[in-house]
């Protein structure tokens, strides 16, 4: 009767990407990883075209660098730097997870269950703290040379 009703009622829609009430920390990291990955590849494609302006000579290049020295572009650039650092460090965490490191030994599933994600979590916090540190330090040399 109800065969054309979706099996899963996606009640939250796009809002559910960001918050569904009980997402774990790692779920937000996934979202961040995906958004920063898309941002980085978009930037990279533009970057190759933009840095090709060097072929138009000194004046064109210095003009472009002058533009990038404006506060707005400084902010964008810093956001990009932060995105890259986050993506890189979270990526290292993903690599280790995929290769099976720091997940603990497999155990009998006896209640109360202990999840490998929980065992992994201290490392996740350390890596994210490191990312925050690098992002803050990178900003200091950018804004207060």
């Amino acid at each position: 009767m109800n065969s054309n009703k979706p099996a899963y009622n996606n009640r939250l829609g796009i809002k559910g990407w960001v918050y569904a009430g009980k997402y774990t920390f790692e779920r937000y990291l996934y979202l961040g990883h995906r958004l920063t990955g898309m941002g980085l590849i978009a930037y990279m494609l533009l970057h190759i075209i933009e840095t090709a302006n060097r072929m138009r000579g000194v004046v064109a290049w210095e003009g472009l660098m002058g533009l990038f020295a404006l506060p707005l572009f400084k902010m964008i650039e810093y956001a990009l730097f932060a995105a890259a650092v986050f993506h890189a460090l979270n990526g290292v965490r993903l690599l280790m997870t995929e290769l099976g490191f720091f997940l603990g030994r497999p155990k009998e599933p006896v209640y109360p269950y202990s999840s490998s994600i929980k065992r992994h979590r201290p490392l996740t916090y350390i890596i994210m703290a490191l990312a925050a540190l690098i992002i803050i330090l990178g900003g200091s040399s950018l804004f207060f040379p």
């Binding site: 494609l45 190759i48 075209i49 060097r54 072929m55 000194v58 290049w61 660098m65 730097f81 040399s141």
Partner: protein
């Protein structure tokens, strides 16, 4: 098997990106810390040409170009192909991504080569 191989490369190029993009950021963002010059000085025309003259730089930029493009475009392809689509549309996505990648790689390589062969003092 083919998909596994493509995915393995997505992960295998990561060490290259970490080292080379790390270096790139060291030059572009941490210039005052590591090289004792301001960020602007590190990015002016002469400094860029000066760097571009070294064979190491030529090779490393082309390597970064290839590795980051592959990793990024493979990732993007995965994100797009996760969406519901017909196999034919999936094929079109694949071909478009490959074409964009090859074009940007060829163009970036040409620009790097242009820098490398820029006449000294000219």
């Amino acid at each position: 098997m083919r998909e596994t191989r493509l995915w393995s490369w997505h992960l295998l190029v990561i060490p290259i990106i970490i080292v080379l993009l790390g270096l790139h950021f060291a030059i572009m963002h941490y210039a005052p810390v590591f090289y004792g010059v301001s960020v602007e000085e590190a990015r002016n025309f002469e400094a860029m040409i000066e760097r571009g003259k070294s064979v190491a730089q030529l090779v490393l930029y082309i390597l970064l170009l290839a590795a980051a493009l592959y990793h990024g475009l493979y990732g993007l392809r995965g994100i797009i192909r996760e969406l519901p689509m017909t196999p034919a549309l999936g094929k079109i996505v694949d071909i478009t991504v490959i074409c964009v990648g090859l074009f940007i790689f060829a163009f970036g390589t040409y620009v790097t080569w242009w820098t490398f062969s820029y006449p000294v003092g000219g």
